[in-house]
Each structure stands twice: as C-alpha cells, then as structure tokens.
Amino acid sequence: MGTAFAMPQIRPDAFSPNTASPDARSVVSARGLGLTFKTDDGPVTALTGVDLDVRKGDFVSFIGPSGCGKTTFLRVIADLEKPTAGTITVNGTTPEDARKNRSYGYVFQAAALYPWRTIEQNIALPLEIMGYGEAEKRARIERTLALVNLSGFGKKFPWQLSGGMQQRASIARALAFDADLLLMDEPFGALDEIVRDHLNEQLLELWARTEKTICFVTHSIPEAVYLSTKIVVMSPRPGRITDVIESTLPRERPLDIRETPEFLEIASRVRDGLRAGHSYDE
C-alpha cells in the first residue's frame, strides 16, 4: 500500500509511437459522436463532434465543468444513452452488443448498493444475473473483496459501512465479472479529501494488478492528473472535447508525485484547457 507499493511493469508502454494502428487496439472508438436531447425547452446538445480512441490498458479521465457531457459520453459507451450523430464502437462492436456481452463494469456516482443485500450478496448480484455457479461465485466474491480491501466485511449490510467503504464495495461489484473495461462516473465525488486520496491510490494499484481499461469521469484536476494516462478536457454548451493530454508521468505514482514540477505542469495545462473552453462571464 502507498508509496512502498512496487508496481510490476507488466504492460508495454501504451504511448510508444511505433505501435500498430490505434484502432486495432481501441477499446472505445468514437468518430463525430453527438447527442442531442429533446426537452420541453427545445433541443439540448449534450455532445457534439467527439472523436476519441481509448486504447487497451489506458486510464482515461474525462474532466470538465458540469454540463460538458462527460457523464453523457460515459453513458453512451455503456449504452445507457443512444447517440444521435456519428459512430462509436466498444470492443469493436456497437455499445448495445457490448452491453449484452457484459463487456464493461459501471461504477456510479453513488454506490447504489441494494440495501436489502449484504455486501457479498451485492457483489453476487451481477454473478447471479450472469449465471455463475455457486463455487465460482464464492471464489469471485472473496477475490474482489480482497482486491478492494474489504475482506471480512462481506456479511455486513451497506448501512453498516462508511461512504468510502460502500463505494469500494460497488467497485468490487463491477470487478466481480470478467469485464476488461471499467466505466467510473465520479465514483469518489461525494467523499472527503482524505478518503478520496486513499481510494485513488488503491484504484491505481488495482488498475495495475487487473490490467483493466478505465474510463473515469471527474471534476477534480489533481485527481485526473494523478490517475490518468490520458486526460480528456471537455467544455459545455455544447458538450465537446477541447484538449486531449497524454500524461508523461510514470506508471508508478506515489501520492507525493503531486508535488513534482512535471505533475504541476500537466495540471496547469488541464486548467488552461478548462479555462479556454469555459467563459466565466455567462
């Protein structure tokens, strides 16, 4: 845990320029993607002209002020919203097929644990739905509980756990089945700074261990810079991408990396991107 944690170098560098064409390794690929909601006050453009590739093993953060479409984009990937323009593929198929193949785990803003189920029954929920056997279920519950440091809490009901622990349980639930893609919508937004630091550290560790591809929505600049290999800066009215920043930070990131000049430089570029796309005179 923490700064002493040594991350195994198990992946090739995802940013080396001489890899094969990006599309071949794309987990998510969007071209000219747009989404316009019809409301009583007329159409609202939540997303427009979004071009983006998320490669296997990436940790991509989406950052921007509210209304910039970052959550909407995540929901489009998850087939919870249908785009109205452009194309998008997830794991090489349509989002709908990807959802039907259960190829992603989704972590919501709130833990959304079912209050009538214990923590292990909550983790078992997707496994029950996907028809895993009893022994396999037990093994996976134990494994994912250990992965989020909640071993021994399986028999507790959600209300008996703190907010941070509940959110960890919901991450365990998303990890319990074999999805290589993890979609996280401001999962730590409601938690205090100290708990959030701790969970960010654990999330990086978990990402290294599981080799998942993670799409992470946030509105915290330090969080985005600390976690990501790629930062997507978005701006509102209409929701669009204004900058994509490839992080130059090493994959092994102790918490105090946030004081290094390199970190601050990336953070400042993110801040500039946010400022450019957002007029404060509105």
Binding site: Y104, F108, A112, Y114, P115, W116, R117, I129, M130, F157
Partner: protein, 290 residues
C-alpha cells in the same frame, strides 16, 4: 423506552375512556328509569338511579362491565360449536375475511404488476380501480350476494369476494408505488448487467416494494374484516359477527351488539398485529437498520 413508560399512557387513556363511558351510561339510561318510576307513581332519587342504569336488560348504552360479562359468557361459557358462542360467529367471519384478504392481496399485486409493466394498463386501469372504491360497499354488497346466489354460489365465497373488493385497492395502489420505488441508478445498474425482465422484477422491483406491501397489507386486512361483516348483513343473518349485529338490532339486544362490536375490533387488532409482526420479521431479514 421501558415497559412502564409504554403502559402508563395507554392505561391513562383507557381509564379516561371508561370514565366517559360510565358517565354516558348514567346520562343515557336514566330517562328510562325515571319513566318507569313515574309510571309506577313513585319518585326515584339520583343515587337509586345510578346502579339501575348499569343493570338494564336492554339499555340504550350498556355499561362496560355488562359488555365484558356478555363477552365472557359467550366466549368462555359456551362450547365453540354452539350457535350462541361468539367464537363460533367470529370464526365464520374470520374465515371469509382471510379468504377475501388472500384473494384481494393476489388481485392487488397482479394489477400492480400489470400497471407497472404495461403502459396501456397504466393508462386505462387506474381510474377504474379508484372508481371502484367510490361505490358505497353497502350498496354493492347485496348485489354481489344476489347475483352469485343466482348462479349457485353461496356461503363463504360471496362474503369473501366483498372482502376482496375492498382489500385489493390499498394493495394495488401501494404495490404500484412500491414496484416503482427503485431509483434510476438502480435500474441503470440492472441494464448494464443486461438483466432479463424477470431478473429485474425479482432482484430489484419485488424486494424494493416490500415495505410498501406490508403497509398496504395492514390496511387491507382491517378492511377485509369490515367487508366480511358487511357481506353478512344481507345474507339473511344466519351466522357470523354481522349476523349477530343484525339479530341484536332486530331484538334491541344492545349488549349483544356491543359485544359483537368488541369481538370484531379485537379480531381486527389481532390481524393487524400479525401482519405487523410479519412486517418486522421480513424487514429484519432484509437487513433494515434497527
């Protein structure tokens, strides 16, 4: 809260009610004693009137101890198979209540499931369900009995159906709300798992609706009893608490009426308590914060 703190307020209210009741007994039954005395050409003092008001055979308002004595006599002293046993009559009514309550629960849940899952049912059914409850049950009960009798259905079932008619309503309304109670985020979660409609129902909507179901069941079981009693009134008053009420009012047997009323109230209380106990047991199993 200690038991003492719970019991003292209840006993205080009970004592106040008894005091008011006894005062009303003296006030309401005294004119009869004065008339009797006047007809006999004698005068009667207030201190003579008071004990007599509490010992009349057909008082306007029987005293509590008269009702208790009647209840004791007709429950403990009579064999339960006797037509004069209140336990026998209570059982007749209770059996119709339970059958009606069971059918009403099933009907209410079935309607709610239909309404939640089918847009056409949602639009078309709810106004009729509400309209059904605006018809006075006293008006429709004899019709149901007569119609069912004409097609050869008599006895317990017609009464039970009147109970059903009353009890399905709170169940249907409560369950529609309960089955719709899951939050969007919980529904989205099921969608990300590509859950089937039946998985969505049994793993999310049904457990989420339990608190609503039991709240409705408590209301429904009490009005099921009312329905069964009302159903007994037009059946020619052969047996059941409703028959006791009717017979009592034919013959001016106010003590009999009041004891039947108390039996009905006691029965309703027991039924509601049983549903309440089931409610807590289910919620405990579902891990609700104590």
């Amino acid at each position: 809260m200690t038991n003492r703190e719970k019991i003292v307020p209840v006993l205080t209210i009970l004592a106040a009610l008894l005091a008011v009741w006894y005062a009303a007994v003296v006030f309401l039954n005294a004119p009869f004693e004065r008339d009797t005395a006047a007809r006999a050409g004698t005068t009667i003092s207030f201190s003579e009137i008071v004990p007599r008001t509490m010992a009349q055979a057909r008082p306007v308002l029987p005293a509590p101890h008269q009702v208790m004595a009647e209840l004791w006599d007709t429950t403990i002293n009579k064999p339960v198979t006797s037509k004069r046993s209140l336990v026998y009559h209570a059982w007749i009514t209770l059996s119709a209540t339970l059958v009606g309550f069971g059918l009403g629960t099933l009907l209410g849940i079935a309607l709610a499931v239909g309404i939640v899952h089918n847009r056409a049912m949602d639009r078309s059914l709810m106004p009729w369900i509400i309209a059904s409850q605006t018809i006075p049950i006293l008006a429709i009960a004899p019709m149901i009995i007569v119609v069912l009798n004409a097609i050869g259905i008599a006895g317990l079932l017609p009464k039970a159906l009147i109970s059903t008619y009353l009890s399905f309503f709170p169940i249907a309304v409560g369950m529609v709300k309960g089955l719709r109670s899951p939050e969007q985020i919980q529904l989205d979660l099921m969608r990300t798992y590509n859950a089937s409609p039946s998985q969505l129902f049994w793993k999310l909507r049904w457990p989420a609706s339990m608190p609503y179901l039991f709240t409705s069941l408590k209301v429904a079981v009490a009005i099921s009893l009312v329905g069964a009693i009302v159903g007994e009134l037009p059946t020619g008053a052969v047996a059941g608490l409703g028959a006791r009420l009717l017979a009592g009012s034919y013959y001016g047997q106010t003590v009999q009426i009041w004891s039947a009323l108390f039996m009905a109230a006691g029965l309703a209380a027991v039924l509601v308590l049983i549903v309440g106990a089931a409610h807590s047991a289910v919620l405990r199993r579902m891990g609700v914060r104590p």
